[in-house]
Symmetry: C2
Amino acid sequence: MTWRDSLSRTLADYPHPSIAVDVALLTVTEDGRLAVLLHEREEQYETGRWSLPGTFVQVDETLRVAALRALRKKVGVTGQEPQQLRVFDAVDRDDRGRVMSVAHVDLVPSDRLEGTTGTLRRVDSATRRPVLPDGQNGLAFDHDEIVETAVKWARDAYRERPDPRRLIGEEFTLLELQRVHEAVLGRPWQKDTFRRHMVQYLDETGGLSRGAVGKPARLFRRTSPRGEHSRPI
Amino acid sequence: MTWRDSLSRTLADYPHPSIAVDVALLTVTEDGRLAVLLHEREEQYETGRWSLPGTFVQVDETLRVAALRALRKKVGVTGQEPQQLRVFDAVDRDDRGRVMSVAHVDLVPSDRLEGTTGTLRRVDSATRRPVLPDGQNGLAFDHDEIVETAVKWARDAYRERPDPRRLIGEEFTLLELQRVHEAVLGRPWQKDTFRRHMVQYLDETGGLSRGAVGKPARLFRRTSPRGEHSRPI
DNA sequence: ACAATAGTGTCTATTAGACACTATGGG
DNA sequence: CCCATAGTGTCTAATAGACACTATTGT
């Protein structure tokens, strides 16, 4: 007997919380700043409020699939790998009912956001919150807190390893890598310190950068990882 | 209009996953080893299988309350502070239906387990899994993975700070503190390295230990924490 | 005196960070 | 030649780990 049969009715019919996913999709903008993708709510009484893309989790769906569906339907973005942050479960966090949200985060190159129906908002380095237009202060629900957790996750991921979310391509110079890390971490880095910290995780390709002024830089790629993958906080 | 009114029916009546909590309640045994509290399942076809205490989350309940209820009802333990690990959401993880589980962990002094109806099982230091009796190998559901994540959480918490889960009392000697840390981490520590690492987070009380052989040891207490609290991984 | 535990001085190896130097391309 | 960027030698400060020594109690 499987859970699609009548036995499951007794379990599923008992009143239980609904479960949603919300995704803080982060990126690095052209001018080297961290930003988060928002969308404007259209529900009654809420028009004009900003929130993270999210959706309810359907009965047959994993969280990952629900998160990808939210990105596709709400902001028109496809093909990411959202990571779980944590569950936000305050009983009064959603006026529409008893809804818990599994917060997710992802960090993707900005060119994957082309054609999005969402809006990129810079994340303030000090507050770790999105900079909202004019008089507005704060996202809907508990989404400010989700963004803060997401930014912390991204910075933790970029403190140790070279570009773990692959914001840049397979081959890169150390300066290109450093620019990405400075954007995510929101602070500068000494080039020699940065180099000596990262080279242990890099392999030289043998190639050199071309076309720019100055001494051509060596190209590197990430060392193929041996063990653990990146994890949510 | 609140979520108790008719509007919520349309939301809650739509088929959606059930949500459960499972708690890996860890402790340090008399002989200085890490252990996890299990209980024997009584459901049909499952009698004799071991699992973590868990329960379904009710519609009005926070995860914390549900986790505490599971501990009270399933193993007769009260008053802990479970921390979220992550959501386990594989669609086939539970034969009874579509159930996601929010895994929790807590680490408490062994005297709080007096009168429990559960069973303490030592956690193997190498595999990070509970040592099961005779021929059994593996907990029900995905609970082996939860225990592994819980042990990792506990070890991370005890790597930096002095006894963050308060397994020992307010005042203690450095040797007492070291014994607790060695039990959680599952490895010995040099006393001078340990001391110099931990004193920065400790205040001297001025008191001395009494009654034992050898030079009396100074008593310390934890420095009142300024900022962040302990967090799940 | 001796056993046992507490606590410290000091050496080494490693590392982050900073400064300043050398290296190598384009114009 | 000059400029700009790449890459390295080296110094300093901080830290973990280890060893060995001194300190202080009970018996």
